[in-house]
């Protein structure tokens, strides 16, 4: 493994049902994540995904690669743009994980997530144990 290696990537379809399921499982029932009337009243273009749903997708990418969630030491994300999820057609997230640094048995992984070519997270990074 070398710095710069792409270690995992994924393309994830996000539909309203996914946000409703996430709301139920997480307990975050903020209506901006499922009710377009409320979302547009507060100035959003449409319903948006929970930021934590996007981070959860990056977490999924990490665990699929690592096999064991216990190897994750820290995991940070800054949400830089909303993931807008229309009723018809939904949205698509493009995810990627890249080796940013290797220090002994600790690996720093840089994560990216884009939707329609827009970066929806910045400074997304995880520190993981090599094994």
């Amino acid at each position: 493994m070398n710095v710069g290696d792409v270690i995992a990537s994924s393309s994830v379809k996000v539909e309203r049902i996914n946000l409703v399921m996430y709301a139920g499982a997480s307990g975050d029932f903020n209506p901006i994540h499922w009710n377009e009337t409320v979302a547009t009243q507060v100035g959003l273009p449409d319903v948006i995904a929970h930021g934590m749903y996007t981070q959860a997708q990056l977490g999924r990418l990490l665990v699929e690669w690592l096999g064991d969630p216990g190897r994750i030491v820290s995991f940070s994300v800054r949400f830089s743009a909303p993931v807008v999820v229309p009723q018809d057609g939904g949205a698509r997230l493009e995810l990627q994980a890249t080796v940013a640094a290797i220090d002994g048995d600790m690996i720093t992984v840089a994560l990216s997530a884009t939707c329609d070519g827009v970066e929806v997270v910045k400074d997304a990074v995880a520190t993981v144990r090599a094994a």
Binding site: Q55, G59, R60, S74, F79
Partner: protein, 149 residues
């Protein structure tokens, strides 16, 4: 309406104990579309040394968000929930949470400030077992859109 800066440093009482259940973790993993065996199959989890199913890495937020709800719905803070978006999120893990853990959340407001027309609120929440073992530290920045003075 701007957020009340008097809330900086405010600590909240420990949440009531939360017993992490195996089926809750399966439900959460399913909701995020994560079919990794370790999150669903006890044998796969045990093969990695867990005594029960571990939690996906972002599950901790479901617990810490409840802890912060007391602050977010405190009218004295002045937060309009509909204007809130999540700005930043950091987890630091001692180990994964797992089914069978009984935990409380200890939280405090670390900072309140503004950037342009938006305000932000920084909270920290530690997820701790009833035996006092720190498992996950959660740091969240939430953004209140357009409410700066």
């Amino acid at each position: 309406m701007p957020l009340n800066p008097d809330f900086i440093g405010k600590t909240y009482p420990d949440t009531p104990p939360y017993a992490i259940g195996r089926e809750k973790l399966r439900e959460f993993a399913t909701a995020i579309g994560d079919s990794s065996p370790v999150f669903h199959d006890l044998d796969a989890a045990r093969a990695l040394g867990y005594s029960d199913l571990p939690a996906p890495p972002t599950f901790a937020f479901a617990l810490t968000m409840k802890a912060m709800a007391a602050a977010m719905f405190d009218p004295e803070l002045g937060l309009n929930y509909a204007l809130v978006v999540h700005g930043e999120q950091t987890f630091e893990y001692q180990r994964p949470l797992q089914a069978g853990d009984e935990v409380v959340v200890k939280s405090f407001i670390a900072d309140i400030g503004s950037r342009g027309r938006n305000e932000f609120l920084v909270s920290q929440a530690d997820v701790v077992t009833l035996d006092g073992e720190l498992v996950v530290t959660n740091r969240s920045v939430i953004v209140s859109r357009g409410t700066a003075a």
